[in-house]
Subunit: 207 residues, 2 copies
């Protein structure tokens, strides 16, 4: 019997959504368990002790084992599937875009979206407010790099959709909520529509 899969999540988080989207595209059932990070529900002693000592969601629970880090959870789900290239270079190139997503994209685009659309700019600390210009520049640089890469290509790696596309889609398609103007990046906009047209695609707010 297959192990039960539970996604410990905060459903407006793109990092959580990419796991749900990967599972949906692969026809894998996930049980969902919600935590409100604005209320500190991932910093309770129970969460830190049992789910993730790093105090973060998402965590994919696989039976009695816990896997933090959204992109690692996507890799577990998609293991051996068509979403993971078998070619040695393409496989590493997929991971390259996933590391780019966590290093250059998420800390800029996801953070500005969270601050502006969920926390509220008026309640940010002075330190957070001081970081906004650099995060806007960094986020636009990430979108420009994506746009140049996607010009003349349908997918990030090779000729078909891979986890690189799923993981980058999650926060890119809601970048407008962070103040980014996606109309400046036409190849990104076409690619977003391509991802949203995949069979078994689910939207971020689907229950």
């Amino acid at each position: 019997m297959a192990e039960q899969l539970i996604l410990h999540e905060y459903s407006i988080s793109g990092n959580c959504y990419k796991i749900r989207l990967t599972a949906a595209l692969l026809g894998i059932e996930l049980e969902r368990r919600e935590y409100d990070i604005l209320k500190g529900e991932t910093r309770t002693p129970h969460f830190l002790d049992r789910v993730n000592a790093n105090g973060r969601i998402p965590v994919l629970q696989i039976g009695e084992r816990f896997l933090p880090e959204s992109n690692a959870a996507c890799c577990w789900l998609a293991h051996g599937s068509g979403l993971v290239p078998t070619d040695r270079f393409d496989n590493a190139d997929m991971l390259r875009w996933m590391f780019f997503e966590q290093y250059n994209h998420e800390p800029n685009i996801a953070t500005l979206r969270f601050w502006r659309a969920y926390v509220g700019e008026d309640v940010l600390s002075a330190e957070q407010r001081a970081l906004i210009p650099a995060k806007a520049i960094g986020g636009n640089a990430a979108l420009l790099l994506m746009d140049e890469h996607l010009t003349g290509r349908d997918w990030f790696v090779g000729d078909s959709v891979s986890l690189a596309d799923i993981c980058l889609f999650a926060y890119t398609h809601v970048a407008g909520e962070g103040g980014f103007d996606l109309s400046l990046y036409p190849a990104v906009e076409s690619w977003l529509a391509r991802v949203a047209s995949l069979p078994d695609f689910v939207a971020m707010d689907a229950r």
Copy 2:
């Protein structure tokens, strides 16, 4: 004939070192090509056009193809080797620690090391200086999480060394240069010694 491998690097960077260490442990020869990031040598039109549009090192050149992102380059080198677990959970768990390294560890520990030991605290911008306390807290939180995980374990994943250890070793072993006190993390110190004792280990400054 195997394709020629060229590492485009800045040799004091831990992100570059992890690729050299992976190659050394696997007996793979790399040609090294040095760029001084303090002189902007990765922002020239030639570099951006030919090596990496993201303007960053390291990049692993494999014949005529270019692979940015240090952890992705390690995955390419170690493909099919004993440094990459074949078990589905352990494989994803290795990637989990590698994503943690790029998200929670490198932006704090590597950045403080670079600012303090190579740029010089007195020439930092006001914005950079304002980030130091948060980066010190974040770096210590990453080291504490590692220390708790390593207590009672020899390696990050399973019973043997994997890329998770190599990638986390790179900046951890020089965290002192960033002002971090590794003696607070005894399990990390034991693990650093374990990595440094691996057959074919090479030091960061080896030519």
